[in-house]
């Protein structure tokens, strides 16, 4: 029974994820599934620093933008397939994370949050005024694929499985971190101010490591986005609303849990697509009003996210069942 329960549910979920675009196979559904996975990658990456290390980045889009711009700048200026620019985007992300993280992770977490938002805006303004990066107009990818390496497909299906593989890699890295010495340190730091102080330099070193890993993985998500959409401009690649989406998905599902960000993305991406379809462009504002309200309600009543709530309800039901049996 234990063995069955341990492997049965993960196997079922994996099967659902693998079969999803084949069962729900209209272009709209396949695209929806692909976008869920894309945002799940970004939100899972955010979760490493925002959830596990407890350092709330509100400017994570800067890393997303690095990945996206790295891919399309490599294509535009060197004529290489966009994917070849991924390492460039990751390197830029890690460099920016170091600039933000080194001075702020030693200080109270508020400094970190403020610095992340300021640096994201700074980079957006710089990019919007840099001709080399397309300035306000943006950069485009290959319109006609020259080879399969360009990863330019008309159907969402190949992207779906590509993103699923990247998400699996991201979650595997997160899981390894969670169960390593680093994971224990981060939990200790998050749980107790005193532990954090007594660890001193080690605490900020582990936070830094989490931040760098998170930045690198978010850049991967950005590259994936740019390769799929084939276009990037300062608003879609570096706008603050992308940061908001990444953050709220992780927070809704549950920060510091392995699958929380995926759950959050699976709820919010379809909601947003549907609300865009129903309300059209005028609904854009309304979507973020709702996001704002959801974040406030979460912070006020359920800061642990939905997965924690589910766990608590299940424990309560189990307790009730046990009492009845007794």
């Amino acid at each position: 029974m234990g063995l069955l329960r341990r492997f049965l549910w993960p196997a079922i979920w994996l099967l659902v994820l693998l079969a999803f675009p084949l069962v729900w196979d209209t272009p709209f559904q396949q695209r929806l599934g692909t976008l869920v996975l894309l945002y799940a990658i970004a939100a899972s990456a955010w979760n490493i620093v925002g959830g596990y290390a407890g350092q709330v980045s509100v400017g994570h889009v800067v890393f997303f933008g690095c990945g996206a711009y790295g891919a399309l700048a490599t294509y535009t200026h060197l004529g290489l397939p966009p994917i070849a620019g991924l390492p460039l985007g990751v390197a830029a992300s890690v460099a920016i994370a170091a600039v933000v993280g080194v001075p702020t992770l030693r200080l109270s977490g508020h400094y970190f949050s403020m610095a992340t938002i300021a640096v994201a805006e700074l980079v957006r303004l710089v990019v919007a005024n840099t001709e080399f990066l397309g300035a306000a107009v943006g950069l485009s990818g290959p319109t006609v694929p020259r080879s399969v390496l360009d990863l330019s497909f008309t159907s969402s299906l190949p992207y779906y499985y590509l993103f699923l593989a990247v998400l699996a890699g991201t979650l595997a890295l997160t899981w390894r971190m969670e169960n390593s010495r680093m994971g224990y340190y981060l939990r200790a730091i998050k749980d107790s101010e005193r532990a954090a102080r007594s660890l001193g330099a080690a605490a900020s070193r582990y936070k830094m490591r989490a931040y760098l890993l998170s930045a690198a993985l978010t850049a991967v998500a950005g590259s994936m986005y740019a390769i799929m959409i084939g276009f990037i401009d300062p608003e879609s690649g570096l706008g603050i609303l992308i940061s908001v989406k990444i953050l709220i998905m992780a927070a809704l599902g549950g920060t510091g849990t392995l699958f929380g960000p995926l759950v959050g993305a699976a709820i919010l991406v379809p909601l947003e697509e549907i609300s865009n379809n129903v309300f059209g462009g005028g609904g854009a504002g309304l979507t973020f009003v709702v996001y704002g309200a959801v974040i406030m309600l979460l912070a006020r009543f359920q800061p642990g996210g939905l997965l924690e709530l589910l766990g608590r309800l299940r424990a309560r039901a189990a307790g009730r069942g046990a009492r009845r049996a007794a």
Partner: protein
């Protein structure tokens, strides 16, 4: 040449006084209860729209819109404190940041949804005229805004340092439990702080709206300016915010004049990163 430069610096000082005013609200809340209000810039934005509505419906200028915006925003601040902030103050930091960040989004896109994305502005002649002081030409609207902002910031400082109410608030900031034993109600004092901080943002917003465009996302830029001001001035320090605000106003004006208007925000944000690296305790803070 010198006259132009002096004019640029004077304009920067007047703008800086406004930065100082709304940043002192942010620094007050941070210093008192160790909460960063990510919605502070959007409080200023809300005040700008309040001022627009006052002009549109009543046809009145800053003489009416400043007190009205102050009252409206103070109410918003106090409500935000009791409905939201009070409950997350002892929660993990992520809950605090999510709470005020969520409030920021809610206000920003609520206004976006209701008023639309278009830039609005008040008529130029609402505070008419331009004064010529020793060859420096200054629009009356900016002169009025800068002067009122300086007065209110000074008033806030005096309130905190010279009155019974201020002493009570500082006592709560110092040690909540001890203050409670002395018969001070911490929640009431913290609510007052939120009212004062949001009210200051309200006055600043109503003043800025007399010479600046009004848009739903203007608060985002202003919030970052406030962060820069507060980190430069040192946390919890109103005089620090004043000095830093004036300094940033001048730096912004000079960089707009020398390098170009689009680069002034880049300069300000870079300054923030530089402060974090070189002097994270702020100009007037202790190491």
């Amino acid at each position: 040449m010198t006259a132009t430069l002096l004019q640029v610096i004077a304009g920067g000082l007047l703008l800086g006084a406004l930065y100082a005013l709304f940043a002192s609200g942010l620094t007050l809340i941070w210093g008192m209860m160790n909460v960063v209000n990510f919605a502070h810039g959007d409080f200023v934005m809300l005040a700008m729209y309040t001022s627009f509505v006052v002009w549109k419906t009543l046809g009145l200028g800053p003489a009416a819109s400043v007190p009205i915006a102050a009252l409206v925003l103070a109410t918003v601040g106090i409500v935000a404190y009791f409905a939201l902030v009070r409950h997350v103050m002892r929660a993990p930091m992520i809950a605090q940041i999510l709470a005020t960040f969520g409030l920021a989004l809610f206000l920003r896109y609520g206004v976006f949804w209701y008023f639309g994305a278009n830039f609005l502005s008040l008529p130029d002649n609402l505070v008419g005229g331009t004064y010529d002081i020793w060859g420096i030409r200054l629009p009356a609207a900016r002169l009025l805004a800068g002067a009122v902002a300086l007065l209110v910031t000074a008033g806030l400082h005096l309130l905190l340092t010279r009155t019974m109410l201020g002493s009570r608030m500082l006592a709560v900031a110092e040690d909540e439990a001890a203050a409670q034993l002395m018969g001070i109600r911490p929640h009431r004092m913290q609510a007052v702080a939120w009212g004062l901080a949001a009210g200051a943002a309200g006055i600043a917003g109503a003043l800025i709206s007399t010479f600046f465009y009004i848009s739903p996302t203007v608060g985002e830029t202003l919030a970052i300016v406030a962060f820069v001001t507060v980190s430069l001035g040192g946390f919890g320090s109103v005089p620090g915010a004043l000095v830093a605000g004036l300094l940033i106003g001048v730096i912004e004006s000079l960089s707009a004049y020398w390098i170009g208007a689009v680069y002034k925000d880049i300069v300000t944000y870079s300054l923030f990163v530089a402060v974090l690296w070189l002097r994270p305790q702020g100009l007037m803070g202790k190491a």
